[in-house]
């Protein structure tokens, strides 16, 4: 497969939208991704994929059709536009489908690493071999994966939008296990140079060893210190439940009707930060609208909601660049993908030392919505829960199920730590540790 440069990609895409008699938008992505996965202290899955996706949206007289393919040739794009055009005529007229973003400059973002692009199977296997050897010295078992990905994203449309952005991502996750305990860690970066594998391995080993001898604990309401991964999970869920302009305007969001109101503690500020290089984000949205850092919650107050070109037109708001990929727009409206809970000034140790009796939570898992409008979610703790008494970690405890209103939790944050962790399977969320006055655990696990 030939290496596609910016000029090639944009040239081919622009040719396909030469005819300006209708509104046409093309989104392009080239993806090269390799994952070396391991379990039971051995590499058990090892894959490398190269793929394209090209989506065409054709809008004429308020009717839209979409066609997509993974074949990137001039002929296939001509066919693609034609297919989208023929589908559009079956659509009913929508008065808000009358425009696409106009040509505009976007802020340049440097988050592509040549070393990530050139990482070989031998390189990834070598990393994994070193990790396994270190863990075996402790007579422990491990499972995890290391992935190197490069992406090229581009958007063009008949209004002259012409965006292209290469990015890379390096991701490592690790679970270290003993008979009845486990520890987990994760590293995310756009660059191999910034990748701190040793730190991740040491943390997972330490957590696994510290979690030995977990005792049962009764569910109930506890003061908690949530580590960054657990907090990031809450923030990511909050975004899905509330920040979409579509949900906000239709009245189904927790934030509906609450713009400019204080809904969380003053120590809560949440910002969409695509220009933090470690977010591995894009400088434009999936309609090619330029992005900027945008605050959604400022000192507890709701100050922004996410819009794209359609919802901005429909609800007479300003487009602020949160159009999501076309294939997902049926399920949800515009959304931020690079959210960061801004750090505070405390250390995690200070948060723990201020807890009379509570729990330290490493991370959450299988978090799902119980009630969307009230932001009630349920999920499990995983890979380390510890009882804190008198400001000190007393002993590990077995996993618990929580059922908690996220908004309520964020209104009861006592303190925010200073060092964020980055996590996410597809898009990254960053958060520091927090201490929350009351957190509801509704039942207990057997492990």
């Amino acid at each position: 497969m030939a290496v596609l440069q910016k000029e090639n990609v944009l040239g081919i895409l622009k040719d396909a939208v030469k005819d300006k008699s209708a509104l046409v938008e093309l989104y392009f992505q080239e993806r090269a991704s390799s994952t070396t996965r391991f379990a039971n202290n051995t590499i058990h899955q090892n894959i490398s994929v190269k793929d394209f996706q090209i989506h065409c949206r054709y809008i004429e007289d308020g009717r839209a059709g979409v066609a997509s393919t993974n074949c990137f040739t001039r002929d296939s794009l001509t066919e693609l536009v034609s297919q989208a055009r023929s589908l559009a005529k079956f659509s009913q007229k929508d008065p808000y489908l009358s425009g696409l973003p106009e040509k505009a400059d976007y802020i340049k973002l440097e988050n592509f690493d040549d070393e990530a692009r050139d990482a070989t199977p031998e390189y990834r296997a070598g990393i994994v071999k070193g990790v396994i050897e270190k863990i075996k010295k402790h007579n422990l078992n491990c499972a995890g994966q290391v992935t190197t990905t490069t992406l090229k994203d581009a958007v063009v449309n008949t209004n002259g939008v012409s965006c292209f952005h290469p990015s890379s991502r390096v991701n490592f996750t690790l679970t270290v296990m003993d008979e009845a305990s486990s520890g987990y860690s994760e590293e995310n970066s756009f660059s191999i140079v910034d990748f701190k594998i040793e730190r991740a391995v040491d943390k997972a080993i330490a957590d696994c060893l510290n979690a030995r001898g977990a005792q049962e604990i009764e569910p109930g309401i506890y003061e908690v210190v949530l580590e960054p991964l657990a907090v990031a999970e809450m923030i990511g869920n909050l975004s899905m439940l509330g920040f979409s302009g579509l949900d906000y305007e239709e009245g189904t969001s927790f934030f509906s009707g609450k713009l400019e109101q204080r809904v969380f503690g003053e120590n809560i500020t949440i910002v969409d930060s695509p220009f933090d290089r470690n977010m591995c984000g894009l400088p434009f949205d999936f309609e090619g609208f330029p992005k900027k850092d945008l605050t959604f919650i400022e000192n507890g107050k709701v100050v922004n909601i996410a819009y794209d070109s359609y919802t901005a037109k429909k609800y007479k708001k300003e487009n602020n660049g949160f159009a999501i990929p076309l294939e997902h727009r049926q399920w949800c409206g515009p959304l931020p993908f690079n959210l960061k809970l801004m750090p505070g000034s405390a250390t995690k140790e200070e948060l723990i030392s201020s807890v009379k009796k509570g729990l330290l939570i490493t991370r959450f898992w299988y978090v799902r919505t119980v009630d969307k409008k009230k932001t009630i979610v349920t999920g499990m703790t995983r890979d380390g829960v510890y009882l804190i008494e008198g400001g000190k970690i007393k002993h590990p405890v077995k996993n618990l199920r929580f059922t908690q209103n996220i908004a309520d939790a964020l209104a009861k944050v006592d303190a925010v730590s200073k060092d964020p962790g980055y996590t996410g399977e597809y898009f990254l969320t960053a958060a520091p540790a927090v201490k929350i006055k009351e957190f509801n655990f509704s039942s207990k696990a057997k492990h």
Partner: protein, 480 residues
Amino acid sequence: MKEFAKLAVDTAVFKGASYADIRIINTKTENYFLRNKSVSQLEKNNNLGFGIRVIADGAWGFAASAGLSKEEIQMTAARAVQIARASSLTKNKNLVLSSAGAHEDHWRTPVEIDPLKISSEEKLKVLYKTQEEMFKVKEVKVAESHLTIWYYDKYFASSSGSFIRQEIYHLGAGIKAEAVDADDMQTRSYPCTWGDCISGGYEKFLEMNLAENAYICAEEARALLKAPVCPEGKKTIIIGGSHLSLQIHESCGHPTELDRALGSEANYAGTSFMSIDKLNKLKYGSDLVTITADATYPGGAGTFGYDDEGVKAKKTYLIKDGSFTGYMMSRETSPVLGLESNGCMRADGWQNIPLVRMTNINLEPGDITLEDLIASTDDGLYIDTVKSFSIDDKRLNFQFGTEVAYEIKDGIKGKLYKNATYWGITPEFWGSCDAVADKNSFKVWGTANCGKGQPGQAMHTAQGCSPARFRNVQVKGYKI
């Protein structure tokens, strides 16, 4: 296609592979999604690519690429072998696979009406009608209607001598009404949450009768706004089929994936409390609980002729009369138990490796009609349609919520409740099953988005069941 497939396998073997297989898949998808009377998505997709899996130096390698050309096939086969060699750096022993046999075959989903030959206009007409019906209820603020069609033209070839073509049709469709008032928001879905997913033709979409059920769906959403919150306590519950299918999926399907039980998913999807030392020993449920994995069962989202390793579709007992008797397996995992693969390896597209995945996971029906099941319940709840779901990483502690709960008093189903959730521990829960309705209310329900693997894959699976009754289950209604 045979030429490309042979080239891939031959190249891999030439480069040093002791085993090689290739899947070439051409996928056509159509997606129709209406939201609040507007077309939210009207899309056709074509996707072509191939993935080559090899064993070299006793370890796995996989490489995949879009498109199809001799040069790309050769490069990708060579890359797969390179990757396998890199994998062998950490191996403890060489991979051993159970046999798949050598098959030459062409299998096709039985279809009466080819859904790809029906016009978009015709399909949209049905969906627009559902929107019209749902908006007759003034409290409905959001109404969604969708139809998705997938057509997979899959070629599989292996160095064991197989060449198999499968043409598989899947279809997913459903509607959802969200009713909103000043205090609350409630949802009602039909035929089930996220829509049903089946294998078959356009005739299956017509049989769903979406338009005929749209008004009732919206009315029920409205009724839920004013319904009282489900009472709390230990209750007898009868779980309706669409929700019970999810219970089966999460608490039986996943823990009986042998790769999970052996630790493959420990970093992501988790492990299983149904460890191999418990096989043929664990009492999973009551004597009324018999659950099979059956890729031969017609019409399910887990129905096929051969899995993605070229193993012929089979039926396996996972749970028999309450006892844990079997796993879903692959060619790599089955030898651990001294068994042959039972054909449960499935991949999400050519881009991904196959993993052990659910096929059709069916709870065998009982011998009591649904009417008699309800009539024989003095005090309980009838609950249905998934609203929330969460389970721990060993598949033990679960909590689920349903869209509706109806009081059963003295054998009569009556008052409507909202916000019902229930929780439990898997074997205790299934041990409390004291009745399963008969085959007259049996249906296979499909799930279009079962997640597993790193990188993440989504799979269409199915779970068949009739409603069933469980005793002494902790129930709680969430007040808002």
